[in-house]
Symmetry: C2
Subunit: 411 residues, 2 copies
């Protein structure tokens, strides 16, 4: 293991500095993709990388690649990065922490005049959040060949502006074809966006993959009626059915501990009036598990639950399976490199499975990839209150640095 | 029992005739209180009563009293009627059936040159529905001294127009003080607006009173979180708490059969997003029972349920008791008169407790009162599909006629 360590103070300074681009009075950041604030932080990012001697390439979906030359530039670059955009009311760490850790990695190598075997590439992926242009992670998806450039360019925001138009407006419609070059590997640092590391006082999450995810849209239909006149035995109450399904969905996750998750986050009642037995209730179900076999079992339990509850309440169900995303494993060697880096640096660490999606998941289809999680306070994210400590951030950046150097050393 | 019977064909004709005032393409009626359509049906009503020789009085809240002289006009009138306004998308029977049955009663006595001992009074109560001006039954309430005239006049619709202004605009701001005269008794025919009579093929509901009613506003607060990252044991999920309360509220009614009713009709989830564990859920509870002791027991069970569920889900509850209306019994003698009339006429009948409120409940505070229910198809009401049969309507009008005559005969 190289003796190099990042400069934690300098790293933390970049968090403070970049939080001004879209900073909110509540201490959060509102830097929606392809907005003027996004342009400002991109301009800052390009200037910092250029000052380090990096070559900047921008592709046709706005991804920014800052390349630092290696000893053998015929090799594919070892890449790292994340995203600079935020949620409309987001925090100072989600996304940009991974970019700034990468920048600090480059600065540390410059400080030490160290040149890697392969070239290095620090990447800002456009529109990870997806809060303005759907779907999320559209530009890393274009890089990985999951979406076409045309599909990305045509995505519209609520004002009818397209992704392509807005890319051009802010000056980041590049000429490079999306996915035009190979990455030797890809490492991404990110805040956990969940409470596990913080609750366990663990510094580093060695991300082994992402859990599988099932989304459902459910509509239960019964018989609308007067709350003051309809005897209980004559009721066909979709609200009661929905309630029992919510409780049952919760139980399904508990049947698959400790990693099973299930949530009903959205409920719409019709007609939604105090003294009217609802005629129908629409709601969504989100079920996740890192083990595909168990996730399928959860799906089967849900089907049984819906049958059972609608039968006992004499209601009818319309049931759409709107997302079926199997679990994804990161590259075993890259994961092991991250784990060894954390161990070598003496940081407490644990293997962890990502709950949310990340650009690294898209990249993992075209390059060996892994991720490094650092704790965020109480797991709060997508929120202006999002918080992480300088110590954890420095530790994560050191793990990123050592992972990249270790990968490079074994080429 | 007098041998007089109403003319069912003539009675049905008035349903067809009045359904034109606000008739909708779907066969319903939209005749919102104090609208031009309401004025049209009021004008029609006054002209029909005037043609029968009745004296018309309009009070300061727009109630219309059509008085037919008796042998002894020093006696307080025996009154009957209902309301001519409808829901925005209402039916042909709700309210007006009681007014038209009263009109047919007067016509039948005219046909037979029969004069009662006491004078008779057919009443149209303003704004029973309350869908434009809150609260419901505001004008029978003013007559009974429950609301002041000033309170009624100041009630505003969504456009900011007041009840008083609109009364004046349509020409029905009368000079008589609200509640200026005593009623000897009050009988009101109404469609059941519930499914019991229709389901049991019973012609007449002898309404013994109205059930008690409790309304609650409940907000459960937990901890908002990411559906993809928050482990089940760390969740404080208000949606799960709400679901268990909905199921428990349903069970509370089942604990008090056969008359207990309980309904959660309105649920609002915050932030209501597919992949977010809600931070809070607001919902309403409506519980009813004709027996005050049992209704209070239901209330206590609800308090226990809320405590239990919020404890097991680690959530917090804010709980407002927004309506506490004890059961109300109609006058025992008036109820018995209705029952005897139905028996004497040979109609199948049963005692029944009203689910919704009616003007007769307000009037019952200032005069002996009772109600007659007739079936409506499948209990559907407040709906353009509202339907009743000519046979049942004729039977109800005959019960009204015989009840009034019986009351008058025993003076």
């Amino acid at each position: 293991m190289q003796q190099y360590r990042v400069n934690g103070e300098r790293l933390w300074g970049t968090i403070i500095e970049t939080a001004q681009f879209g900073g909110t009075p509540a201490g959060g950041v509102s830097r929606i993709t392809l907005s003027d604030k996004d342009r400002q932080v991109r301009d800052w990012f390009v200037s910092q990388c250029t000052a380090l001697g990096c070559t900047i390439t921008i592709d046709e979906v706005g991804n920014i690649f800052a390349r630092r030359a290696g000893k053998d530039n015929s090799r594919p670059p070892i890449a790292f990065g994340s995203h600079l955009d935020t949620q409309p009311a987001g925090g100072k760490f989600d996304g940009i922490a991974g970019v700034l850790a990468g920048l600090e990695l480059l600065r540390t190598l410059e400080d030490n005049h160290f040149v890697t075997n392969a070239p290095l590439e620090l990447i800002d992926w456009t529109n990870e959040e997806g809060s303005r242009f759907a779907p999320t992670m559209i530009a890393s998806g274009a890089f990985a060949g999951i979406f076409t450039t045309e599909f990305a360019h045509a995505s519209k925001d609520r004002q009818g502006l397209t992704f392509g138009e807005e890319l051009e407006r802010i000056g980041y419609l590049g000429k490079a074809k999306a996915g035009d070059h190979t990455l030797g590997a890809y490492f991404e640092l990110h805040i956990e966006q969940g409470p596990i590391l913080d609750a366990e006082h663990t510094t580093i999450g060695v991300v082994t993959g992402a859990q599988g995810q099932m989304w459902y849209d459910v509509t239960i239909t019964g018989m609308q009626g007067h709350a003051g006149t309809t005897p209980m035995p004559l009721r066909r109450n979709p609200m009661l059915a929905c309630a029992r399904i919510i409780d049952g969905v919760n139980q399904i996750a508990l049947n698959h501990p400790p990693s099973g998750l299930s949530t009903v986050g959205l409920v719409q009642v019709s007609p939604n009036s105090r003294n009217v037995i609802p005629g129908s209730v629409y709601f969504t179900i989100d079920m996740r598990h890192p083990d595909g076999v168990q996730l399928k079992a959860m799906h089967r339990e849900l089907v049984t639950l819906l049958d059972h509850v609608t039968e006992e309440t004499n209601t009818e169900v319309d049931f759409q399976h709107v997302l079926d995303m199997p679990p994804r494993q990161f590259d075993a060697r890259c994961v092991e490199i991250v784990r060894e880096a954390a161990t070598g640096l003496g940081y407490s660490h644990r293997d962890i499975v990502s709950g949310p999606g990340h650009d690294a998941l898209n990249v993992s289809w075209v390059a060996p990839a892994a991720m490094i999680f650092i704790p965020c306070e109480k797991g709060i994210s997508h929120n202006e209150a999002e918080s992480a400590t300088p110590e954890d951030f420095e530790a994560g950046a050191n793990v990123l640095l050592q992972s990249v150097l270790a990968y490079d050393a074994h080429l």
